[in-house]
């Protein structure tokens, strides 16, 4: 059962430093060989300040910067062995570059507890007090066999 008192709860902020090698590692892992992620000269030619973080970087910031998310999920009442990732959404305000220090704040954006449990965690990522990205992750836990 979900603990509905977590609705709207904000967890303590964390910081994560963006690094060129971690950008390269993520791009290499997903097969994104675009030179803008590997070579700062190529990135500058395309109008970037340096090798930018790829589109799915918020997942890296959240898991490496806030591995406690797994404990928070358990705390909220999510059975992490059975969870499924249902949705992931990003809104980008500014590109993010190596050397940036990102402050992340995770909150429980919405919760629903019926036959199917659904929880959305919202991460607000900011740099020097300015929001650079809002990331939302929605997970579901399907009903267990034989009911709850």
């Amino acid at each position: 059962m979900l603990d509905m008192s977590y609705q709207g709860k904000e967890f303590p902020p964390f910081t994560y430093k963006i690094e060129a090698s971690k950008i390269r590692e993520l791009c290499a892992a997903i097969g994104d060989d675009n030179p803008i992620y590997f070579d700062s000269n190529a990135a500058v030619k395309e109008g970037y300040k340096d090798t930018p973080a790829p589109l799915t970087y918020p997942t890296q910031v959240n898991f490496w910067g806030y591995p406690e998310i797994w404990d928070r999920m358990t705390e909220v009442g999510i059975d992490i062995k059975r969870l499924l990732h249902a949705k992931e959404e990003y809104e980008y305000f500014q590109p993010v570059y190596p050397g940036d220090t990102i402050t992340g704040t995770v909150c429980v954006d919405s919760m629903r507890d019926s036959t199917m449990q659904m929880v959305t965690f919202k991460s607000t990522l900011s740099r020097d007090g300015e929001t650079v990205c809002i990331a939302k992750m929605t997970i579901v836990v399907p009903p267990s066999e034989g009911g709850k």
Binding site: Y48, T56, K136
Partner: protein, 139 residues
Amino acid sequence: MAPKFDSLETGTMLPEMTTEPVTQLHLIKYAGASGDFNPIHTIPEYAKEAGLDGTIIHGMYVMGVMGKMLSDWAGNKNIRKYGVNFKAMTKPGAVLTAGGEIKRKYEDDNGKKLINLKLFVKDETGDVKLDGKAVVECE
């Protein structure tokens, strides 16, 4: 370089991109890169205990594949929104194809020239794994 608003038409399909077969090694690398160490993706015995017949590909890996197709076409810094719905589990061995379509062309209240895209990733059998949407700012 951003997509040229005037030369874009709704209904136009984006260039598709196809991966090599995704292997268990890809998932091990992805776990380390992303920090998502849920063993359901990397340890077959654990995946079986969780009721699956083997490991499954990280949903975020598949979103990364779609993201490459999207950012190669639109340019990373021109993308304002990007979101996906995960539709089905994907197993190692899958060959993934990402693509999309221009759904809408409009100017917002600030005069920004925007397009909405509908995106997909399917496997070699045509099974859709991911539905996506993006908003791209054009010039």
